[in-house]
Each structure stands twice: as C-alpha cells, then as structure tokens.
Symmetry: C2
DNA sequence: CGGTTGTTTGATACCCGTCAAGTACAGTGG
DNA sequence: CCACTGTACTTGACGGGTATCAAACAACCG
C-alpha cells in the first residue's frame, strides 16, 4: 500500500545523464525506496529503464482489473488506491506517498485502482524489463521481499485500526500514522497535509463522511488539532495518542 | 497471514530418507506451499534443514516481540495469529492453516503471537540456514515474493471485510472465505471446521463474542447454515453469498 | 457431582449510519 | 463586481445495529 523501508547504503554520484527527471542517483526518494538496494552501476541500469510520468489531479494511473504492464515509484504527490465493491461501495485500501512502490508483487492484473490526488510524479518501469533486472539482481529481489514484508505489516496495522471500536480512535490513529509516514520522508512538521477528501478518509477507515467530518470538527473544538486549509495541524499529540489508544 | 499460492510443478519421487515426518518430496502440503518452487535435488537440501514440530492445543509457537529464529510451514492443524493491543484488547490477524507459511518476510522480530488451536504439526526451518538457501536459490526467493503478494492480497481482502457495514456480512464472508481456503487444500466439503472459538472469530472480525454467537444462531434458524460440533455446515451457499454481498 | 470454560440468550444504552439541510468556496460568465 | 453553479464540507435530527451488562445454559473433566 505504501512503504518506506529506508535502509541507507548511500552513494553520492553526480548525474551524468541529461534526462528531464534527473538521475536515479540523485533521486530524492531513492534512499527510502526499493532502489536503495542498488549500487552505482546498477542504478545506471535501473535509470535506463525508468520513464518519468506526470499525472494531473484526479488522473488515473491504472484501474482495478487492468493488465499490469509496469511498476511505479512515487516521487512526488500522492496516489489513492481503492477498490470498487460489487455492491457499489468503495474501499480505499491506502494512499501511496513519495517513496512508495506500486506493483510490488508484479501481479498479472492490478487488484486496485490507482488515482493521483494532486499533481503527481512517478518513475515508471516497464514490467518486463524490471522483471529481468530483478532476476539478475537477487539482492534487489530481496529488497522487494523486505518491502513486501513492510507493506504486509502496514496492512496488518490497518486491519488492527479497522477493527478498533470507536470512530474517534480510527481518525486519531489515521492522522498519527499519516504524520509518521510524512516524518519518514523528511516532513516532520506537526501539520499534516490531507490531499485526499473526507470521503476518501471515510472509505479508508470504514466510516461515513459525516462521521469523519464531525470527529474532525470535535477534535478541533477540543483543541487536539486545528483544521487548516488542505490539512490539519496536530496541536496536542499526546491527546491524540491517548485517543488512538495505541 | 495465511497462504495458498498453489502452483504445481510436480515431481513424484519416492522417499529415500528415514525421518519421522516423511520427506519433503511426498509432503502433502508441498504443492500448495512455498516448497513448490523447488526441484527434486533442491528439495533434498530443504529437507535436510527441516525439523518436525508438534504442538499441543493452545501451545504457543512464538510470541509477539520474540526474536524470530525460524520460519515455519504448517502441515497439520491450525495456528492463530494475534496481537495484543496496548489497552488489553486483542486482535486476531488471521488463522494459518495447512500449507501456510509463517515468517515469510524473515523479520527480525515477530509482530504477532502464534498459537496452535488444536494438535498441530509444522515444518521448522532455522532462519539462518533457510536464509542461506534462499540466497542461493533466487527462484525460491521469487516464490517467497509471490507468496508475500498473495498474503498481501488476502490482507487487503480482510481489510475490505472489516470495513464492511453489517456484522452479518462479516460473519457470512468469513465463513465463505474459510471454506474457500479449505477447498484449496482439498477439503471441499460444505462442512467448515471451526477449530477457533467464538471469541477468536469476534476478535478477527472486529465484533463481540455475543454478536458472533447471535448471528450464527440466526443464520442457523434461517437455515442458511447448520451449527454442528466443532464447526458449521454451510447449507445454503447462495444465501450466504447474498449476505456476504461479495 | 461441582468447578471450569465456552456459548447462548436477554435487556438496555449508545454510537454511528442515514436522511436532510445548510454553509463555504472556487470557478465561470455576465 | 456580482449572480450562478458545482463541489466539498459541515451540521442537525433521528433510528437501528451492535456493544455492554447480566445471567442462564452446555460441555467437559476433575
């Protein structure tokens, strides 16, 4: 769903290519992404496969059921991952942010729909070529497995969140985990951007939009947070942690 | 948390070893498990690493926070995977059944507690040795990644289930998915064994034990299923599928 | 038999989903 | 500058589903 296994392995090399999206070596998300597994030369190989991809707000990257022709690395913006249920309801599986990898397990068909929430930039890797590279580099494969394990643990965390009793716990927990994810990519501010809408949050937490709105308003009134344009400012972290009960 | 990627690749070879748990080659769960990635000779290598492990009902395999010293393959019985939340509540992440693999991502520490529900038998692989084998066999690594992808999709399914509105949908959906998993390991009967208790089911679905009990009783009264000792018989599958709304 | 554990059943309270209306804001065009 | 429109969000009233509290029942084992 998301990801940030960030295990350094630095390698500060100047960019030797002239590509509109800069080189992998100087990529700002490299160290928190799968690519951290690669050394200098290997990065060049990877870079040769990468294609920059810009998405406008609300633009779809791929849809549930589509053949998976590529894998992606988010370098800017945020992507919403959702599923449409047979009865018309929607479930938002998660939000992929900077550094997150899409198509981890190289599935035949995507089981979710991916859509940009705001202006978003991704690194696109043709599946075939990426698969070949993976085959040739077992440590990259190992890295993918690590990341899969990480995403699995995130999925478990979210399952736990969903099974929580009250809506307040869910909302507080969601905001805190989002903040934590921002922190891992360098955004340590207590102001958490919410590029997704209330409906998205509701569908993510298994609540209704009204409940989400009400709770945010309540938390604002109680001065646990402050609703600001485009996000929230987590004023009283301890209070929120209390409410999240985790 | 479970798994059944069952992709054949047969290799019917007679057992040449004298071990109390039989050889990997004739293992009944091999084809549905990670081991299906291996050929005859490689199976021998794997077999040399495996240790049979018998658990009594309610016996713990490992606990949340323990150092992960090994990985396991369930060959008989069922294992409950749960987490204890800070506030004392418990969340049952899932149930590992025959063919399922524990410790997939080779984590440093287990993030869940694993306990046998009934008499259970597992194949134990020392983590170090297993890790070495994996390093030497990229296609086994690939297989692990496939399986991780599968478990991720199961986790997503369960997230979807948890975010469903009514308790009835959850229970019906749970029973159907359990039946499906039994089917993949050869148990195609409409009678679904429930080695776990009502409380386990409740903690798995984010409900209370009373609600689970009440709903099972109701579904029984409505003749959608029949409660039998140790499980349920799914009498009216269509009805249940209707209720599960999926 | 009595003790323990697990399950079922009942009565009540309350959280949250539903339905409905109102507000805020951006964009568009006059 | 101001209506008009659409979208997103907020707020209110109400009812239903589920949690909670409580107790009875069943199964098992000493």
């Amino acid at each position: 769903m998301l990801s940030l296994t960030g295990a350094p392995g630095a390698h500060a090399r100047p960019c030797v290519h002239e590509r509109d999206h800069g080189s992998c070596a100087e990529c700002r998300v490299r160290l928190v992404s799968v690519c951290a597994a690669l050394t200098g030369e290997e990065l060049d190989e990877l870079e040769a496969l990468s294609q920059p991809l810009h998405l406008a707000p609300r633009q779809a990257l791929f849809g549930q059921g589509d053949r998976a022709g590529a894998v992606y690395n988010v370098t800017e913006g945020m992507v919403r991952l959702s599923r449409l249920l047979p009865d018309g309801r929607r479930h938002v599986m998660g939000f992929a942010m900077v550094g997150d990898f899409l198509g981890l397990a190289l599935p035949e068909h995507h089981d979710v729909t991916a859509e940009a929430l705001g202006p978003t930039v991704l690194c696109r890797f043709e599946k075939r070529a990426f698969g070949d590279l993976v085959k040739a580099k077992p440590h990259l494969l190992q890295r993918l497995l690590d990341r899969a394990g990480y995403e699995l643990s995130l999925a478990h965390d979210h399952m736990t969140l969903l099974s929580r009793r009250t809506a307040e716990e869910k909302v507080a927990s969601f905001l805190l985990s989002l903040r934590e994810r921002y922190a891992r990519i360098g955004q340590t501010s207590v102001t958490v951007a919410l590029p997704m809408g209330r409906q998205d949050i509701a569908d993510h937490l298994g609540l209704t939009i009204e409940t989400v709105s009400r709770l945010l308003t309540r938390l604002d009134r109680e001065k646990a947070l402050l609703i600001v344009p485009g996000g929230v400012r987590l004023v009283d972290l301890d209070r929120l942690r209390d409410l999240a009960a985790a």
